[in-house]
């Protein structure tokens, strides 16, 4: 495989790694590459599979680009190609790391929040009330299902909730 073809292939690979949902696009690009360079698709897919193992393993073990390069050379790739791949790795690793972190397990993740507030005008017990209420709708992801949670807060509760959340933010920021 010439170095030009290799760089094109690497580009395709990294594009897929940074957008793991675009499986179809990746497969199309692979078969285009195969036809353009007169390589048969079957063996190409196998090679690509083994190549993809390296970045995934590297992510898991937080390897530096030096180590990635060394790995490739150990696998039998020429120095030039290994260096090129390692360079691409260095450039893309922030995105790839962010994606891996984004995939990390989250328990009952809060997805969305909606609210409304209004005034209670009257009730069956009291003819005229005039108290303010706040209603929150929280969308929580439980496993693969979404659950809507509705809660009502009084004004003092809202203000202390806001205060606590601001404390959480300060705490999170001190750890970033």
């Amino acid at each position: 495989v010439s170095s030009q073809q290799f760089s094109a292939l690497t580009e395709v690979l990294f594009r897929f790694l940074t957008e793991p949902k675009e499986v179809e696009g990746f497969l199309t690009q692979l078969s285009d590459f195969a036809t353009m360079n007169k390589i048969s698709l079957g063996p190409l897919k196998n090679i690509v599979k083994s190549i993809l193992l390296v970045p995934n393993g590297a992510l898991k073990r937080n390897l530096s680009s030096e180590q990635v390069r060394a790995d490739f050379i150990a696998l039998g790739l020429s120095e030039e190609k290994a260096s090129y791949f390692a360079e691409q790795w260095k450039v893309n690793s922030p995105t790839l790391t962010r994606l891996a972190v984004g995939q990390t397990l989250m328990i009952n993740q809060l997805i969305d929040m909606e609210w409304k507030f209004g005034v209670t005008a009257g009730s069956s017990e009291l003819e005229k009330v005039g108290s303010i209420f706040l209603q929150l709708k929280l969308v929580i992801k439980k496993g693969s299902k979404m659950e809507n949670v509705y809660i009502e807060l009084t004004l003092p509760q809202f203000y202390s909730f806001l205060h606590e959340m601001e404390r959480v933010k300060t705490s999170l920021e001190s750890f970033s």
Binding site: I151, K169, S176
Partner: protein
């Protein structure tokens, strides 16, 4: 019959928000015993705000927030990446189901959820907007 009448009287007073002795006194029939009338009015007046508060506390509503707790964790590794330092927030809300439905045995459930920093920032933005809207309404 007596209890039922008393009950109706107090409900009427609470419902219409009567706060002045004269209003309550006028509810009694013409030839009602004078001292009893005054005594009853006095007792009702003393209890009125407590009754109003309780009525308001037990009116129908969506499930109410009763308590909240939070903690901040730092995620250090996972199956997809072996070393990282990502702070995350765990929030636990204690929610009480509709008071009117529970009667005397309130059902409180705890809901724990996780918020990433981005989610927290967005939430704070939303809460800030609520606060601004509330002050706008209060100032009108």
């Amino acid at each position: 019959q007596l209890v039922s009448a008393l009950h109706n009287l107090t409900r009427h007073v609470v419902y219409h928000g009567l706060t002045r002795a004269e209003d309550i006194l006028s509810l009694f029939p013409e030839n009602f015993h004078q001292n009893l009338k005054n005594l009853l009015t006095k007792i009702i007046l003393e209890n009125i705000s407590a009754w109003r508060n309780e009525a308001q506390a037990s009116q129908i509503s969506l499930p109410r927030l009763v308590d909240m707790d939070w903690r901040v964790d730092i995620k250090t590794s996972s199956d997809s990446i072996s070393r990282m330092a990502v702070p995350t927030c765990l929030l636990q809300l204690k929610i009480q189901e509709d008071v009117a439905l529970c009667g005397n045995t309130p059902v409180v459930s705890a809901l724990t959820m996780e918020l990433s920093k981005e989610t927290l920032d967005t939430m704070l933005e939303g809460l800030g907007r609520i606060r601004d809207q509330l002050s706008a309404v209060a100032n009108k």
